[in-house]
């Protein structure tokens, strides 16, 4: 076969295979999420971030994830647990990172707005939040934890949405693949495995 013909056949085959590969690996994140720069903000109020957080409710959970829309539908349900598969939703630490308007630079305590469809997880795990690692993160005495403070264990973090009584709170959290992201009644405040954590720098 002449060289030009050989090249043409090979090139055409490569194009076809590329299309097949692309179709097979298309995920919610690759189809919907972006990498837009975060917007620095001067203010960050607890009420405002409660409104932000509730957008993620019903929109799924993704291990290592950080991107969701606001259609109250998990576009990628039943993903294998503890595997990064590019589905919709954040995990507990990614959800907290975005809700707390944090910088990817752990030495930067400033406030940055991340749009829900901006795919970002941030450098923190639940364990890191629990230890107060990073400039924006601190700890708080659990009895003093209020709305948009958090409770973090070695493996999980959730944010107070409504302070209850009798040892429970309404927590907004990216809980698990089967559970999704939503409001749950939890007793984290009274569990010794959980510590109180707080975003430093609320303005209201």
């Amino acid at each position: 076969m002449k060289p030009l013909a050989t090249f043409s056949v090979t090139f055409a085959l490569a194009l076809v295979l590329t299309g097949v590969t692309a179709a097979r690996t298309r995920t919610f994140q690759s189809a919907n999420c972006n990498a837009a720069a975060p917007q620095p903000t001067a203010s960050m109020t607890r009420d405002g971030q409660m409104n932000y957080a509730i957008i993620a409710a019903w929109d799924g959970y993704q291990w290592g994830g950080g991107c969701w829309n606001n259609d109250d539908h998990d576009a990628a349900p039943n993903d294998p647990p503890q595997q990064y598969t590019g589905g919709e939703g954040g995990d507990c630490s990614g959800f907290t990172f975005k809700t707390w308007r944090e910088s990817q630079d752990a030495s930067n305590g400033g406030r940055y707005y991340w749009a829900p469809l901006r795919n970002v997880h941030g450098p923190y795990t639940a364990e890191a939040f629990k230890n107060g690692s990073g400039a924006p993160n601190g700890t708080v005495y659990k009895p003093n934890a209020i709305a948009m403070d958090g409770f973090a264990s070695t493996y999980h973090i959730g944010l107070v949405f409504f302070r209850g009584s009798g040892g429970w709170d309404q927590i907004i959290e990216a809980k698990c693949e089967a559970c999704g992201t939503n409001l749950f009644d939890e007793t984290y405040r009274s569990q010794s495995a959980f510590s109180g954590v707080r975003r430093i720098g609320w303005t209201g």
């Binding site: 990498a35 291990w63 290592g64 503890q82 990817q104 752990a106 364990e127 690692s133 990073g134």
Partner: protein, 204 residues
């Protein structure tokens, strides 16, 4: 060095690089073997080990501590009999918020294997570069995990039947909270048991 030859290490490096699609071809100019020490430590403990332990959930009894010292990092891998948890503390000599252990990770053990690499990205080296640390489950018979670094191969010894804590500054995608480790597992005679890429995401 268990009959491990420079030739074997070089071959492993090129193969690992090729397996990750990087094209390989870069001649390995040096190899570095990490030191390892295994201790059983009675809690509570003092010193640097004690400061790491304070970041874990272990408070009583005896723990197994595997200390590795490498080119960029010093790590402690800590486990306790009958506990499903394994912790790692990572240090680069550059404190994070005045903490010598810049990174702490926690993992769940199932049959002595972690279910997730527990990637840690908060540490930086003396040049300000992000250092990625993660767990690798050793295969039966694995004596070393070889990690392809920028201009060398670093060998991490297996110890105590626990996951092996490895680190790299190559393959770090901080923007996406992800790192790719080019690794191979070697037996005591330097034979390759497996090779390929470990892609880890900050999660959980």
């Amino acid at each position: 060095m268990d009959r491990l030859s420079v030739t074997t290490i070089a071959c492993v490096s090129l193969l690992a690089a090729a397996a990750c699609g990087s094209g390989g071809g870069e001649k390995v100019s040096a190899q570095f073997v990490d030191s390892v020490r295994v201790r059983r430590v009675q809690l509570p403990a003092g010193g640097a080990v004690g400061r790491c332990l304070a970041l874990t959930s272990f408070r009583h009894g005896v723990v197994t501590v595997v200390e590795r010292r490498g080119r960029a990092t010093r790590s402690l891998t800590i486990a306790q009999r009958a506990s499903p948890d394994v912790f790692a503390c990572d240090a680069t000599g550059v404190p994070l918020e005045r903490r010598e252990w810049c990174g702490v990770s926690a993992g769940r053990l199932r049959n002595r294997r972690v279910t997730d690499p527990r990637l840690e990205l908060l540490c930086r080296d003396r040049l300000g570069r992000h250092v990625a640390s993660a767990f690798v489950n050793p295969l039966p018979g694995a004596r070393w995990v070889a990690v392809e670094q920028r201009r060398s191969t670093e060998l991490y010894p297996a110890a105590a039947g626990l996951p092996i804590r490895i680190a790299t500054i190559a393959g770090v995608d901080y923007e996406h909270a992800r790192a790719t480790f080019r690794i191979a597992q070697l037996d005591a005679r330097g034979r390759i048991l497996s090779q390929g890429c470990l892609v880890a995401n900050v999660a959980g």
